[in-house]
Assembly symmetry: C2
Homo-oligomer: 593 residues x 2
């Protein structure tokens, strides 16, 4: 079972949930039209299905191979990457002035989902390159831009993000890699970085490393970190003193080389400053925010692929006779209620995660493209608010759905040849990298809720409420208990938000942080439910208008399932946020053995 | 980080939650005393820690190797198995008349937990042997018993369960393996079986296969299946026509060979009937029920091991500075509230799953040992009711806790050398084998709730209520909101139970089955919470009596965490059971792409 990009679902979500239609009407996306967007998505889907997806299993089995400092990717990967960049996919969101197509983040997000569904180990590489492009555009000197941006936009070269060191993971203040001023505008970089995705590979002739390091006179902590560009090959063609020491033996994404990088083992790697000295973390955050959305999209991607595979198996595999079956013999297992619950849970979670990621992408586009300054600011704050939710919820969903996918397969799910197990193994990294989901939850509560004095989150909740009010007015029986269930979830979110806004700025911030993870889930259930309701409302309107596409009724049924079977967890999550933090007092007691 | 058997927690749970003290007082366990039980557990813990646990990682890396029909286990496994049987551990629960020690299922369950925590791939083998012992005792002829029981009880030989065929997994009615009467009291067996755990290996000189097959004149369906004993080597020493064709390449438990077995490729494997013709399924269920408890214990085991490893890492790893920290520099991550939540969730789920499994074991002992017939019947029904909960909840917990364990490790969790990933890969099979967790949930709702007209489940709920009433009366501040939260959970369970009892016997059984999985989770939250409250009450009483063991306060804090942060999911689960089944009507619509 391979992957088939769900182009029409993706386009529907873009148009009716994340506001593509409205944005096109307002001219936010220049010459883009619905037809052009559809054509691009179709093409991307075909490429993902036909070129990348067939490599996924082989990439897992073969893995990337390290020998004598050289990383060789799995058979077929080099050719696939070349075909992918030749077709212009890497350049899709890139700036027009450097050979990019300048297309929206929203459209690219849909493509990122498809590349990663086809193969997460393939899709993660370009995510880093795109992050580096954004960092260079925002902070790079004209010299660096003119030297490197075109190569990165085309994908002729790739880039990496070198943050983590053995003692510095979530806490970048602990970074020890050193940078020394040479005096000629260059720096010498010395240190070790770990967990560097595609730090070394054979896909391209050169690799640009973005490296966080400290100057000798830098202040301690995060205000003393600078960002440097360290190319594998220098402009004069000589090899830089930046080498891959080894690659990791990982649970999943075997085809993506995860490198330990040594900078300056032979005197110092030559690097150029990006942005200002000691302001490296701010530059890095430019990369990280979009990378976080991209990792969220990986969660959506793996969930979609796992769902497709489980659905196909459930149609094909026969066991037992379903209640009410009119056929002789064993029924396809998809006819059994418990299997239906699993599949609907998979599909509904995937759709909700996708919607939240696309809403985030729309906010980013709004922040960059809207002519109105207030709209730009609001778009930026909305994207900031939603980014940790998109990253953490969607990647948790990736793991949950991949695990359910194994379950639907029964014993076959545990056999590697089936492919279902690989999805879980691959998915498991996404809640960890680009900031663990715990870090995302803390970011949401401690930094995002207080945006504009709480106005940003309150506006978002108001918009969820407005959606539910429309469902209530609709009165279509197919919606079932959608409105009351989602209303309950949103009110739970509202109360929990009020509590956290008060607590996080009080003298008890630890209590707010203790509830951060359940709060993020609660946020996602309310936001995801509202987003699926938007889709269902649009579908209902189209049906009323005579559109006979059966997918419309399916969207209403899926929204209803989410509201009645998944969003109902909201109250329990509210309880844990509001009073669950009492455990803090006795935590060390309870964890003593 | 290796495993340290949590002997005192285990003994405390046995004594104060699953009624060991009461049973000893009543003389249910013959000569067993608390001291003797403690000594046995200490010895078992030492063996698990020192002999088995060190093999776990190597077993994963090396795996079982198949070549030319021969399976070679990983280095050290043969010696460890020999030492384990020599020490008498296999014989612990076996019948005294056949060399066994006749010790309680409860005590053996604690040991089974420890073997599997040390290595799940090691622990699963003897589970099958013990199942075969039970089947032979209950259904085997005197001839078969005298020929084979002693060898199985000592562990000199092992046994397998041959149920699954490619077309017959959850649905055993579809079995095609054939058996023909020879006329001399033997049968010739022909067919293929898949997913046969330890179907072939080099640990012992002989392997006894219990095989489900059909006689030529057997009725169709499950009433035409018979059980046969098919030894690898016949009594005269010749090789039987039963061979391993290949082993699976699995996601986890690599050291446990999962075999495709071919019976009768060269004329027919010689087998002996166990029990009566066409009554094989009933015989198999004797094996399966206890095997289901054992698999539940695997879930507890892997959760415990994953928790220990994550806890150790959280003490050692430093990142960030915790709020309120009085120390300079980075804090151990265990001081961060979000990490504490993860660890407490892991510990609380593990403790709840353990308690439910041990309660099940106590029911089995009661069913076999009580002098009073009514008590035996009630014990049997209680064990029957709890078995699917123990199996499904504990194995789901195994997966959830192992996944959280990876998360606590951050990036290191995804690296295979760390060992955290192996726990998740190993744990993932347990919700599948011995009846998928979906099948367990259906068993609970369709067959176990109606026991004694619903009296069994109502008695169980009443006992949970009684525990909560005691917590309420206690009034100790350390219990926090334990009583109201658990009461809410139990009332949710009560309402959902009433609904299902009505629905499952009505003309809408599909609606009951649609809610089976969330109902099982709801049951486990209420039962698990009540069990932890029993432990906390006992701990509180001991503290009041002057016992200064800090573990007692820890038990109260853990119970409170479970009630306030985990059991609060109950209401949402009730909602899905009561009204969530509406999705059935539109399920095929929602799943259409």
């Amino acid at each position: 079972m391979t992957y088939r990009a769900p182009v029409s679902d993706i386009l529907f979500t873009m148009r009716h949930v994340s506001g593509l239609d409205r944005a096109l009407g307002e001219g936010l996306y220049d010459d883009l039209s619905t037809d052009l967007a559809a054509t691009i998505l179709e093409e991307a889907g075909r490429f993902a299905n036909d070129v990348i997806a067939p490599l996924n299993r082989e990439g897992d089995k073969h893995g990337a191979i390290f020998k004598d400092g050289v990383v060789t990717t799995a058979p077929g990967w080099k050719e696939a990457y070349a075909a992918w960049t030749d077709a212009g996919w890497n350049a899709l969101p890139g700036p027009v002035g450097y050979g990019g197509q300048g297309l929206p983040v929203l459209l690219n997000s849909a493509c990122v989902e498809m590349w990663n569904a086809a193969s997460m180990a393939f899709g993660i590489g370009p995510v880093l390159t795109m992050g580096a492009i954004e960092a260079l555009i925002a902070h790079g000197s004209e010299d660096l831009k003119s030297r490197y941006l075109e190569k990165l936009v085309s994908g002729e070269w790739t880039a990496t993000m070198n943050l983590t060191e053995p003692q510095a993971g979530s806490d970048l203040a602990a970074i020890r890699t050193r940078a020394e001023r040479v005096g000629d505008g260059t720096y010498r970089i010395t240190g070790q970085k770990i967990f560097i995705t595609y730090g070394e590979h054979d896909l391209t002739d050169n690799i640009l490393h973005l490296v966080l390091a400290r100057l000798p006179d830098a202040p301690a902590g995060t205000r003393g970190i600078s960002l440097f560009l360290v190319p594998k090959f220098l402009p004069d063609g000589t090899r830089n003193d930046a080498r891959c020491h080894s690659i990791e033996h990982k649970m999943g994404i075997h085809a993506s080389p995860t490198c330990t990088m040594m900078f300056g083992d032979h005197g110092g790697a030559i690097g150029w400053l990006v942005g200002e000295e000691n302001r490296g973390l701010a530059c890095m955050f430019t990369m990280m925010n979009n990378a976080r959305l991209a990792v969220g999209l990986q969660g959506v991607a793996i969930a979609e692929r796992a769902y497709q595979q489980a659905l196909a198996y459930a149609h094909e595999r026969r066991q037992g006779r379903a209640i009410g079956s009119t056929q002789d013999g064993m029924s396809p297992i998809i006819e059994h209620p418990d299997v239906q619950r699993n599949l609907l849970t998979m599909k509904a979670l995937t759709a909700a995660a996708r919607a939240i990621c696309y809403l985030t992408a729309e906010g980013i586009d709004r922040a960059h493209r809207d002519k109105d300054e207030t709209s730009r600011r609001k778009g930026n704050e909305r994207a900031s608010l939603l980014t940790p939710v998109a990253k953490a919820f969607a990647t948790d969903v990736g793991v949950e759905v991949a695990s359910l996918g194994i379950q639907v397969h029964g014993g076959m799910g545990f056999i590697e040849e089936t492919g279902a197990a690989q999805h879980l193994r691959d998915a498991r990294i996404a809640p960890i990298y680009e900031g663990t989901n715990g870090i995302q939850a803390i970011d949401l509560v401690a930094r995002k809720l207080p945006l504009s004095g709480g106005e940003t989150v309150r506006t978002q909740i108001a918009s969820m409420r407005a959606t539910v009010t429309r469902v209530m007015k609709e009165g279509t029986p197919a919606f079932g208990a959608t409105a009351p269930r989602l209303r309950d979830a949103i009110e739970s979110l509202d109360r929990a938000t009020g509590y956290l806004l008060k607590t996080v700025s009080s003298n008890a911030p630890a209590e707010a942080l203790a509830g951060a993870t359940p709060y993020l889930r609660l946020f996602a259930l309310a936001q995801g439910g509202a987003a699926l309701a938007e889709a269902a409302l649009a579908a209902n309107a189209l049906m009323s208008g005579g559109d006979k596409d059966p997918a419309h009724a399916s969207r209403i049924a899926l929204c209803r399932f989410f509201a009645e079977n998944i969003a109902v967890a909201a109250k329990g999550l509210e309880d844990t946020v509001l009073s669950g933090a009492d455990f803090l007092r006795d935590a060390s007691l309870a964890l003593a053995s």
